[in-house]
Amino acid sequence: MTTTASGSAGSKVAYQSTVKHGETLVNVEGLKMYFPVNAGLFVQKKVADVRAVDNLSFHVLKGETLGLVGESGCGKSTTGRALIQLYRPTDGSVNFGGTELTKLKGNDLRRFRRRMQMIFQDPYSSLNPRMSVQQIIGEPLAIHGLYKGNERKERIEYILQAVGLNPAFARRYPHEFSGGQRQRIGIGRALAVEPEFIVCDEPVSALDVSIQAQVINLLEDLQEQFGLTYLFIAHDLAVVRHISDRVAVMYLGKMMELADRNELYQNPLHPYTKALLSAVPITDPELERTRERIILTGDVPSPLRPPPGCVFNTRCPIAVDECRERVPEWREIVPTHWVACHRV
């Protein structure tokens, strides 16, 4: 890994990553994540599966930010967790820089976790209130046996500085910090072990707008400084457009569309993407009031009983019989623009 970090604690135990900037870092093929639903009073029997993630294929390029959007329950967080093996996928392959993650177990997997970390949504519940900031950031270093003794202290100070916190606060506890500062601690914890790939799961949704902008800018700075690759999961489409290089749209466990940021927002092909984009009001009163909107009717169906054919057919304004019968193929319509829809 190449880092531009300076100082003695900047980069010491760097492993050598062979993936170059712009090449595929994570390749996902046919990823499925099903959760069993059990029933029965005395003997629990599996009665059904929740298909949280159903047959996803995509890749993440080294150094890019791939945005993942969709409504709650669409499987975007599950996808992020299945990628870094916090959930073990039901089926499919996750290849990380040449290593098949779904086959890794025990210590091999634990060692590998250094290269992929996660930032969580809720800056309140994702930090242990009984641990000081230096313990929180030091814990992953201890687990991976990095930076012993005084070097660890220096490393923690270096990380705190990198995420914009005063190193003098190292002995303080989470409750002494504001929401935005806590999110910086969470980012510092992820960053401590020098990962290549970070899954950011709604990292700014719980923050006020002005604080949200601070954290977004920080994530962008850190990406440039440390050459990070992000999977950025969020439901705020404006934030995702801002931070991402490419954006994927999910609905009910399936990927509907994936394209370069401007291509997806200016030329959406899938009717769900179109509806989603038109549902978000633009922060311009004159423009917004003359904008045509597609208002979807009804609710998202239960992932326990997804509709046959295309999962979006129950709310789709242009659905035809074929959509109710056959699952649309995930295809590359024009280079780098993927979509799953019969009507495109």
């Binding site: 707008v209 800018n217 404006a238 401007n262 989603l276 549902a279 009163p285 979807l296």
Partner: protein, 340 residues
């Protein structure tokens, strides 16, 4: 348009162990009939406390309305006794809360809960009230309404529950609807459904709406006028177009620039407002926004700015004019460093 609501120098304080929290510190604003006014600001700016004060729902202790008047249809709500207040709440003034999960009673059917307000305020018989309840559910787009009135809240999705709340709020043809973050807990496509229904019904019934939100897109779409709150005060007020296009208070300028736009084709680094809002337990001298302001001058540290009419109908609380004084802008962090 006739004046419906007038809030005058409202002060709502919370008396806590840490000291007096001046959550709402002297706000004055008004709302005309049929108008939609948005109250925007970050958490802790006092927008929800303002709304709760109107309905006198401030928990006492620790909270208390210490000063001001709230005149609704010519009468001061703060001087009313409990019985008078009850005849107004849910009837002339209705409210929709953020959490559709916790605002409905889980052990009563949707129909029973809808009937309660109708029977109480409109004096209908049970049968008539049931018919009206079904009509209301149809109005907010609940399919098979005649069957769904018999369901319990847990059988409804989040978006449907919020539509039930809107049906309930509008059941007695209120003159004022207060919606406190009505769609924050909902997904975007459902958010659009719910807001469109709310706006359409309010227009049909000529109900005035006070919408409290931190979503500037929602404000841009639905609000006629906007009040921006910061540290318990209104810092800017005007028509949505004026406030969005020509903000006159540096905090509003910062707020607008810190939100990425959905229609932005170029990647521009977001402008941030450095620092944190002030703690409201401390006495604030000068302008509360000064420590975070790029335009601050010496006067801002000593003189508390008044809300001034900067152009017709557009008010701001600021000694400077960020539209004109762009050249003298010094980032707040650099100004602080220079002072040390």
């Amino acid at each position: 348009m006739a004046r419906l609501l007038e809030v005058n120098n409202l002060k709502t304080y919370f008396f806590t162990e840490e000291g007096v929290v001046r959550a709402v510190n002297g706000v004055t604003w008004h709302l005309d009939e049929g108008e939609t006014l948005a109250l925007v600001g970050e958490s802790g700016s006092g927008k929800s406390v303002t709304a709760m004060s109107i309905l006198r729902l401030i928990p006492n202790p620790p909270g208390r309305i210490v000063e001001g008047t709230i005149t609704f249809e010519g009468k001061d709500l703060l001087k009313m006794n409990d019985a008078e207040l009850r005849s107004i709440r849910g009837n002339r003034i209705a409210m929709v809360f953020q959490e559709p999960m916790t605002s409905l009673n889980p052990v009563l059917t949707i129909g029973q809960q809808l009937r309660e307000a109708i029977q109480l305020h409109l004096g209908l018989s049970t049968d008539d009230a049931t018919t009206r309840a079904v009509e209301l559910l149809e109005l907010v787009g609940i399919p098979e309404a005649d069957q769904r009135v018999k369901d319990y809240p847990h059988q409804f999705s989040g978006g449907m529950r919020q539509r039930v709340m809107i049906a309930m709020a509008l059941s007695c043809n209120p003159r004022l609807l207060i919606a406190d973050e009505p769609t924050t807990a909902l997904d975007v496509t459902i958010q659009a459904q719910v807001l469109e229904i709310m706006a359409r019904l309010a227009t049909d019934l000529n109900t005035a709406v006070l919408i409290i939100t931190h979503n500037l897109g929602v404000v841009a779409r639905y609000a006629d006028r906007v009040n921006v709150m910061y540290a318990g005060e209104i810092v800017e007020s005007g028509s949505a177009v004026d406030v969005f296009k020509r903000p006159r208070m540096p905090y509003t300028v910062g707020l607008m620039a810190s939100v990425p736009r959905l229609d932005a084709t170029e990647h521009v680094r977001l402008t941030t407002i450095e620092g944190q809002p002030p703690l409201l337990v401390q006495e604030i001298h000068g302008c509360p926004f000064r420590p975070r302001c790029d335009w601050a001058i010496d006067k801002c540290a000593t003189d508390h700015p008044e809300l001034e009419e900067k152009e017709p109908g557009h008010w701001a609380r600021c000694h400077r004019n960020p539209q004109v004084d762009e050249k003298t802008r010094v980032p707040a962090s650099e100004a602080a460093a220079a002072a040390n």
